[in-house]
């Protein structure tokens, strides 16, 4: 267990120094996965052979003196809604259980260019719809800190894999908090970049105007190094930003002076868990100690975020998921009594191929876009979305970041929320705003509950300010001293 649970930067520099080979690193991770994955179930598939082959290629290139990417030899897990050429991309859905992508996503290409070794595809809520990984059509994933609890979702498999030491980085996607909330639940760092910062080409869409790919890593530096690899313009995604891309890792350790950190009074409401409140207050204190000014700000329309989100995201999803009709690829229902009609084929394929949560959202979205109610729901939600965005713009006139809890609660038990979708939706309260406004946001571990469950704090920054966001995060990370906590989780898991 030399390298399990260590950070990306440690691994990358050891690889560069020749202290460890990519093959040894891959083998160590694969055997750790073999030993502990049955408890966590974070992977839908482990790319054992592919990973060893890729690692061997890295070592060979290094031996030949070839130029290697910054992540050369680093194990990376990838969420199952991101296309890897030749591999299945199922979105944890029966619908795409056997769909093998004939092409690489932009992010996959970038990771491979950087030399990353893909170790497996991670479990998720079906089509990224959920906050607990329980809507996966295959199995729920456990939180490595407490196997009875959920790792969060929808990128729960990715967050759990990092927390369990299966890979120092995992790629996730975030539509309403799907990177940050599981990062918070699993005691790791999760970054949702600015909308458009990372190409969505090859990301299987949930809600196109909200989806964004980002890293989950053991520490802030790992997130920065990963963002270095995957950020930047891509002509294949029309919404990809042409903004210049700075190095996110270079100046990471330089603290920011004169920080103004915004906190929102309304965030402290009845739904907020006491221990979460206390842990987040400690982060505020930490920033104060670091010389930051704490500013009370107002986000008057934030209270409508969940409502707006649950109109817009299902609307886009109802359209994005229309292509799964059993005709061209994916699940097709067998005809039961003699050949079925075209309409029956559609109905049965979609009826059997999608799980309940996906169907619930398709129905919500289909309704919201119907001609009679379009103006009352979809159009109105778009208008309020603009107000929410304006609130942030105004807030950023007086603060550099907005600080809040990532999730109002620590990780809950598997099955605890399964019959209460509304309560689960409200779990997204703090994270949704950044998606609606297209802003970068990060979740950092900021403490633990008395029973040892991780708690996350969230920072939201102005658009394309990831470099400053990561620097401010690094300041907090150092101040809080989370180092070592993850190692505890990993060894506890291995020892169980």
């Amino acid at each position: 267990m030399d390298w399990i649970g260590r950070s990306v930067s440690e691994m990358a520099s050891a690889l560069q120094q020749g202290e460890v080979t990519a093959q040894a690193l891959a083998e160590e991770h694969l055997s750790h996965i073999e030993a502990c994955e049955p408890k966590v179930r974070s992977f839908l598939e482990v790319f054992r052979e592919q990973a060893l082959t890729a690692a061997e290629a890295v070592d060979r290139k290094r031996a030949a003196g070839e130029k290697l990417g910054p992540l050369a030899g680093v194990p990376v897990a990838i969420k199952d809604n991101i296309c890897v050429k030749g591999e299945i991309a199922s979105c944890s859905s029966k619908m795409l259980e056997n769909f093998r992508s004939p092409y690489n996503s932009h992010v996959t290409e970038r990771l491979l260019d950087a030399g990353a070794v893909l170790v497996g595809r991670t479990n998720m809520d079906e089509f990224a719809m959920g906050s607990s990984c329980e809507s996966s059509a295959f199995f729920p994933t456990s939180n490595p800190w407490d196997l009875d609890r959920t790792p969060g979702g929808s990128s729960g498999g990715s967050a759990a894999a990092v927390a369990a030491g299966f890979a120092p980085i995992a790629i996730g996607s975030d539509t309403g908090g799907s990177i940050r909330q599981p990062a918070s639940f699993c005691g790791v760092v999760g970054l949702k970049p600015t909308y458009g910062r990372v190409s969505r080409f090859g990301l299987i869409a949930f809600a196109s105007s909200l989806d964004q790919i980002g890293p989950i890593a053991t520490d802030v530096c790992g997130a920065a190094l990963t963002l270095d690899a995957i950020a930047g313009h891509d002509g294949r995604d029309s919404t990809s930003a042409k903004e210049p891309v700075p190095s996110f890792s270079d100046a990471l350790d330089q603290p920011l002076a004169g920080l103004r950190v915004g906190v929102v009074a309304e965030h402290d409401n009845d739904g907020l868990d006491d221990e979460v409140r206390q842990a987040v207050a400690k982060s505020v204190d930490a920033y104060r100690k670091l010389g930051a000014e704490i500013v009370n700000i107002d986000l008057p329309n934030a209270q409508y975020g969940v409502a707006v989100y649950y109109v817009l995201a299902p609307s886009e999803a109802s359209s994005n998921l229309a292509r799964y009709d059993g005709v061209h690829y994916g699940y097709r229902a067998e005809a039961e009594n003699g050949p079925h009609s075209m309409i029956e084929m559609y109905e049965h394929s979609r009826g059997q191929g999608f799980g309940d949560e996906v169907k619930r959202r398709i129905m919500l979205g289909t309704y919201a876009l119907s001609s009679g109610v379009y103006a009352a729901y979809y159009k109105k939600a778009l208008e309020v979305r603009r107000l929410i965005r304006d609130d942030f713009t105004k807030a950023f006139e007086s603060v550099d970041f907005v600080l809040s809890p990532t999730s109002p609660t620590p990780p809950f038990k598997i099955g605890e929320m399964i019959d209460n979708p509304l309560a689960l939706y409200l779990n997204d309260l703090f994270t949704i705003g950044a998606n609606l406004a297209g802003l970068p946001a990060i979740s950092l571990p900021c403490g633990k509950t008395s029973s040892g469950l991780p708690i996350g704090v969230q920072l939201i920054a102005p658009a394309f300010e990831e470099a400053r966001l990561l620097r401010a995060s690094r300041m907090l990370e150092q101040e809080i001293g989370w180092d070592g906590e993850l190692a505890g989780c990993v060894s506890q898991l291995a020892g169980d």
Binding site: N81, I82, C83, A89, C91, L96, F99, S101, P102, Y103, S105, R200, F201, G202, L203, I204, A205, A207, S208, S209, G235, R236, D237, S238, T239, S315, E316, S318, S319, A322, R323, D325, V327, H328, Y329, P339, M342, Y346, T366, L369, S370, S371, Y374, Y378
Partner: protein, 496 residues
């Protein structure tokens, strides 16, 4: 019963771009190799994203400008949602409430009737669907889908209901077809589906009580020949009239909705296609994968330079230059290349009528005989102009001109390219130069008379027609001679 026919057309035009509208696949008619011109984007694979082909948008704007439409400075893309196997995403990317152009017009004329302006409501750009291929053997084989056509750029042009007869609808479509070929934006191959037409038809009936009532609007789909448009509307007008007499049902009655009918050319009848109970809610909403298009003043200016003179304007100009309405129509209706050819010849010789006579008779006849287009024609406009210039200048007779014309084409058929320099050689070789030299003429006549004692005898005995043989002899030796002048000289000599 007095009534007025009211027709509006919806025309779909496939644009002549190299690649498809939202991906890099070839835009070619290729039914023999199904699904070979496809990629993840036009197959609608998970994770794929559309990127607008700027050339498709440019051609659309040029077309709309030629249709006198206003170009919107801001336009966006919407998803039109419905399920059909030839639509792999479950939605068609189209334009709903903000089309890129509106408010144009086109002129149409039925034979010698007045030129009428048919207003264009809007023109918008969208993607074509694929093609479903059904087993027509009746053995119940599987239906298949060919997606080569999916994603072909499709311009939809919608007219106002300004058309007042079946013949006018045909004329309007023909004029549009001609304009599109003038612009070169589409190959307009109706057999291959590059130009497809739907017609909205109803009647405004003057009832005996003096009221004016409208019959329910019927959309006739897939009228893919000019003749079909005219025939289908004629038949539909009769059907609606009968229907009204029988039922008295009119537009606006409860339960009366727009009906869709197909056209059966073989049986010469329209038939009901889709009932009102299936009236679709397309749930249009803005496509979040595409960014709106903002058109600049510079782009408009540049595109305007590609807008050519419309066929109707050109006909008018030709008439102003002295052509009959008939000649102007024949020339312009041959297409832009032919009209350009004619115009180059006319300008070069300074005689529009002479050029028109040759273009509409000799040139067209040759093209028809040889099944050629003007681009393949053996005589370039320079050569024809050089030839006609000799006639205009009185160097050769029209008859000689025809001989030369035929000779040049014959030589070209034998592989000798027609050149202007060859004209003088041929005139020389064949002695076609008009003879104004009376000495040479007299010598030729004297020689002919000497060779024809019998004819001279007959003439002197009162047989006037005997002189014909002598004229023939003279003309044979002196081809450029004017037969009338020859006749006069002979009679003069014999009578003297």
């Amino acid at each position: 019963m007095q009534y007025e026919v009211v027709v509006g057309l919806e025309v779909h035009v496939q644009l002549l771009t190299k690649s498809k509208i939202f991906c890099g696949c070839a835009n070619k008619f290729n039914p023999d190799n199904p699904n070979t011109q496809t990629c993840p984007v036009c197959l609608g694979l998970p994770g794929s994203l559309p990127v607008l082909n700027a050339e498709a948008f440019r051609l659309s704007c040029i077309t709309a400008m030629a249709l006198n439409c206003e170009i919107a400075r801001f336009t966006k893309w919407d998803r039109k949602q419905y399920y059909y196997p030839d639509l792999p995403k479950g939605y068609q990317i189209s334009q709903y409430d903000l089309p890129f152009s509106e408010h144009g017009w086109i002129e149409a004329q039925v034979e010698d009737g007045p030129v009428r302006k048919i207003r264009i409501l809007r023109a918008h750009l969208e993607e074509d669907a694929g093609k479903n291929i059904h087993d027509e053997s009746g053995r119940g084989g599987d239906s298949k889908v060919d997606l080569n056509r999916a994603g072909t750029p499709l311009l939809e042009i919608v007219s106002q209901p300004d058309i007042r007869s079946a013949a006018e609808a045909k004329a309007c479509l023909e004029e549009l077809h001609l304009l599109l070929t003038f612009l070169g934006v589409s190959d307009c191959n109706m057999q291959e589906g590059s130009l497809r037409c739907d017609a909205n038809v109803n009647l405004h009936i003057q009832t005996e009580s003096g009221d004016k009532v409208a019959t329910p609007i019927v959309e006739i789909k897939n009228l893919n020949t000019f003749r079909g448009v005219e025939a289908a509307i004629e038949v539909e007008v009769k059907r609606q009239l009968e229907e009204f007499k029988k039922t008295g049902r009119k537009l606006g009655d409860p339960g009366v909705e727009k009906e869709t009918r197909g056209w059966d050319a073989e049986r010469n009848t329209t038939f009901a296609q889709r009932g009102k109970e299936e009236a679709a809610d397309y749930r249009y909403f803005p496509d979040p994968d595409l960014v709106p298009v903002v058109v600049s003043e510079e782009q408009l200016t540049e595109w305007r330079t590609f807008v050519c003179e419309s066929p109707s304007r050109r006909r008018r100009r030709f008439q102003e230059a002295g052509l009959s309405a008939y000649d102007a129509e024949v020339i312009v209706n041959q297409g832009r290349e032919f009209a350009d050819y004619y115009e180059r010849v006319a300008d070069a010789i300074g005689d529009a009528k002479q050029a028109a006579n040759w273009a509409t008779q000799d040139v067209l006849r040759t093209l028809n005989d040889k099944q050629q287009t003007i681009d393949d024609f053996a005589l370039s406009s320079d050569v024809l102009a050089a030839l006609l210039k000799r006639i205009v200048d009185g160097d050769i007779t029209v008859k000689s001109g025809r001989e030369l014309f035929a000779a040049l084409i014959e030589e070209a058929d034998d592989g000798q390219a027609a050149a202007a320099s060859r004209i003088d050689e041929l005139i020389e070789e064949r002695g076609l130069k008009v003879v104004n030299d009376t000495g040479a003429l007299d010598a030729a006549i004297d020689a002919a008379l000497a060779e024809s004692p019998q004819a001279v005898e007959d003439f002197r005995n009162g047989k006037q027609q005997a002189v014909g043989a002598v004229i023939g002899k003279v003309m044979k030796s002196l081809k450029g001679a004017d037969p009338k002048q020859v006749r006069e000289r002979i009679i003069e000599k014999l009578s003297g």
